[in-house]
């Protein structure tokens, strides 16, 4: 922490670290050593002097015994060989000074008047010792010794040595930190240099050089791996961005494409007047172009659901064959227009699958549509459904342009299209397979593209887990016999008079009894009088909005079994749920496909 706060480069920090460590270690150990030695010095010197006193006591015992002070003075003079002993004295057992000794050159020493109890004590820079003289159990007297006690000299010696050692250590430490600099900081500096270059040059292909095999080497490896990963991600982002740009261009193109024929058709209608044949031709052209636009917008909605993760399923156990039939029904006009033959191979036994029939039909239609789109006119397309173990397997085979190996997986990515040179009117938005893959995986299945190469056709295989119980009742299954139930009472409510009237004409034209209302209140009034079998209600109506109309209608007598259909411009999941909560049975998004209306009329 301390180190981190110090300014300067890593190199300086390493140097400081080494120096601080060295100095603290030295100071600590030196302090410990000095303290220990001073204590040992005191103990040792005291012991030493005690021994001297003991020797003196023994030597002078006879002199004390027989009162020979001359002999005693001689005994004391032995201390001459110990220059640190400044003075010595003998006291009789009665406490009188009996003999004294003073080291040569020592100024007059004042001896204590009377001896003290045994013991040693330090007085300034001197050590004083008293020791009784005992012989044959008799206390004969006391020895007194006064000696130099100079730990400070010793301490000064120590500090001098410590200073020299410390200077030497610092020199060595400085040398080693220089060495560490190359061993540790050089690789780090290399990494930071590369990092700077990557940022300034925006080049993720740069790599740091690995110098050592230690943790720093690992750091360099990780850093290089991160560079590689960052490079990959930057590429992926660029790629995604490019595809999005392409998609937007495609989208604008696709949406604009049908507009010219539509305008032409309108002009033809104006010019044709009563020429029925020409009007019919123009009408058919407009229908085709409109369908194309509706499909584009539906795709767009699905794209938004995929990206926001709101692609939901309404699951039930269904017969897979039914979804296949729905899909074939959807794509048949496209195939017929291109004079392509679709061979269909379905098993006789029903294959139950827990899934969303509409969405599964969408998947199969997408695959057939793709096969047709990327095959020449009149080319054959094969569709088969079979049971393989506990899976239902769908294969869609064509003899079209095929796929190269790289495209086999990328084809499922958003906005990817195989052949950008294809006529735009046929190419779509490039989300069909993405959607198909997503839907299949939501069903717990898988989808796979196979091709032997460009120009050799392709095969798409969908695998779906089979349900363990047979399909639910056929009640929800839409019928495609078209005109199944005639003469129903139908109520239409929409504040857009053109829409309400045109839809009314369309339904009345199919032989149903129709009433039209232009706001919510009118719709409620009509409902109570007319008691419709089916009601198509706009949501955003004046006076009473569609949700409220639905709620109130549900409470009217005789209307509990009435099929309520919400018709709105809003197709998000929330809107569907809200409509369901209000009591609606179905939810249609404008523009409404006449086929859906037919289906509802047929089933309701």
């Amino acid at each position: 922490m301390l180190i981190a706060n110090i300014g300067g480069s890593v190199r300086r920090k390493v140097m400081l670290l080494v120096l601080i460590t060295t100095v603290s270690a030295l100071l600590l150990s030196a302090t410990g050593l000095v303290v220990y030695d001073l204590r040992a010095y005191e103990r040792q010197w005291t012991n030493d002097l005690n021994t001297q006193a003991e020797v003196l006591a023994r030597a002078s015992a006879p002199a004390l015994s027989f009162g020979d002070s001359k002999a005693a003075a001689n005994d004391l003079r032995v201390m001459r060989v110990r220059p640190r002993v400044l003075a010595a004295a003998l006291y009789t057992s009665a406490g009188q000074r009996f003999a004294t000794y003073t080291q040569d050159g020592v100024p007059t020493v004042s001896f204590p008047e009377a001896p003290e109890a045994d013991g040693a004590r330090i007085e300034g820079d001197q050590l004083v010792i008293f020791r009784r003289v005992v012989e044959n159990g008799e206390v004969l007297g006391t020895v007194y010794l006064r000696a130099l006690y100079q730990p400070w000299d010793r301490l000064r010696d120590y500090l001098t040595i410590l200073g020299v050692v410390m200077i030497a250590s610092l020199a060595i430490a400085a040398f080693f930190s220089g060495w560490l600099q190359t061993a540790i900081t050089a690789p780090i500096l290399e990494v930071s240099r590369v990092a700077r270059e990557v940022i300034t040059q925006d080049d993720y292909s740069l790599r740091a050089r690995k110098i050592s095999d230690d943790e720093i080497g690992e750091l360099v490896d990780s850093f290089n791996a991160m560079l590689a990963e960052a490079g990959r991600r930057a590429d992926a982002l660029r790629e995604a961005d490019r595809r999005k740009d392409e998609f937007l261009a495609t989208l604008a193109h696709e949406l604009r494409n049908p507009l010219a024929p539509l305008r032409n058709a309108l002009e033809i209608l104006r010019l044709a007047g009563t020429n029925a044949a020409m009007s019919e031709k123009a009408r058919q052209m407009m229908e085709r172009q409109l369908n194309q636009m509706v499909r584009l917008v539906d795709d767009l909605l699905d794209v938004s659901r995929i990206t926001t993760g709101k692609l939901g399923l309404r699951k039930a156990v269904i017969e897979l064959q039914a979804a296949v039939r729905d899909a074939i029904e959807t794509v048949r006009p496209f195939l017929e227009a291109r004079h392509q033959v679709l061979s269909v191979d379905l098993p006789v036994d029903p294959l139950p699958v827990d899934g969303d029939r509409t969405r599964l039909a969408q998947v199969f239609a997408n695959l057939i549509h793709n096969a047709a789109k990327y095959s020449a006119a009149e080319a054959p397309i094969a569709f088969s459904l079979a049971r393989e173990g506990d899976e239902a397997v769908v294969r869609v085979r064509d003899r079209g342009i095929g796929l190269d190996a790289a495209s086999l997986t990328s084809i499922f990515d958003m906005f990817v299209q195989v052949d950008k040179s294809l006529e735009r009117a046929q190419s779509g938005l490039g989300v069909g397979l993405t959607l198909a893959k997503r839907l299949v995986s939501l069903h717990g299945g898988s989808i796979e593209a196979r091709s032997e190469g460009t120009g050799k056709g392709s095969e798409f295989v969908v695998r779906l887990p089979l349900a363990e119980r047979p399909a639910d009742g056929d009640a929800e299954s839409p019928r495609h016999d078209g005109r199944g139930a005639r003469g129903r009472r139908v109520l239409i409510a929409d504040d857009n008079a053109d829409f309400a009237n045109s839809l009314g004409s369309l339904i009345a034209g199919s032989g149903h009894d129709v009433r039209v209302a232009y706001d919510g209140a009118e719709a409620l009034a009509a409902a109570s009088r007319f008691r419709p079998d089916i009601a198509f209600l706009d949501i955003g109506m004046p006076r009473v909005h569609g949700y409220e109309v639905a709620r109130q209608m549900r409470e009217l007598p005789g209307l509990s079994s009435c099929v309520l259909v919400a018709v709105t411009g809003w197709g998000q999941e929330d809107d569907r749920r809200r409509a369901q909560d209000a009591g609606f049975d179905r939810h249609l998004v404008k523009p409404v496909d006449p086929k859906e209306i037919e289906t509802i009329l047929g089933s309701g």
Partner: protein, 184 residues
């Protein structure tokens, strides 16, 4: 003995023999007191021959001939003291027949004439003889008291000590006034 001499003797006696404990009696200290104390202390610096210490377990006996003052002083020192692990005892010796059991014999000045005879008898029994006459060592005693400059000192004859089978500690010899070495 005049007054000044008594005072000096008192000082020495206090310093050596009795310590503070005996200070109250210091004024009564005389030459005899000092000699009695020295006699007791000599015992601590001397190795006794085995023959002198028989029978085992008995007391350590200092015999006194011809000096009742010293005998009395020894009597006062004796209680509670011991030599070579034996209790100290004091006995007055009148003639050579009563030497049995004595380890150390002090021959006073009045008996000096008999000294050579006493020494001969004592040497046989391993008894250490201490005298207080001018030519005591020449008469055969091991230790002889000398009074010089009002101080009590002593001479030692290692020759006599060897004859009676005693060994005198060199530490004691260090404070002796004169030491007569072994013959030969």
């Amino acid at each position: 003995m005049n007054a000044s001499r008594r005072a000096v003797l008192a000082l020495i006696a206090t310093a050596t023999a009795f310590g503070g404990r005996a200070f109250a009696q210091a004024l009564e200290v005389t030459e005899s007191t000092v000699k009695a104390a020295f006699l007791y202390k000599f015992a601590g610096y001397i190795d006794w021959p085995d023959v002198a210490l028989e029978p085992a377990g008995g007391a350590f006996v200092i015999g006194v001939m011809g000096n009742d003052e010293v005998l009395a002083e020894l009597g006062r020192i004796q209680p509670g003291r011991s030599v070579a692990g034996r209790a100290l005892a004091v006995r007055k010796v009148r003639d050579l027949d009563s030497l049995a059991g004595v380890q150390m014999l002090f021959v006073g000045r009045p008996e000096s004439a008999r000294l050579p005879v006493v020494v001969r008898a004592a040497q046989r029994q391993g008894i250490l003889v201490v005298s207080e006459t001018e030519r005591g060592l020449e008469a055969g005693s091991v230790i002889n008291f000398v009074v010089l400059d009002n101080r009590v000192g002593f001479d030692v004859s290692l020759d006599s000590a060897e004859r009676s089978g005693h060994r005198v500690s060199s530490r004691m010899l260090a404070v002796a006034r004169r030491v007569v070495p072994k013959a030969g």
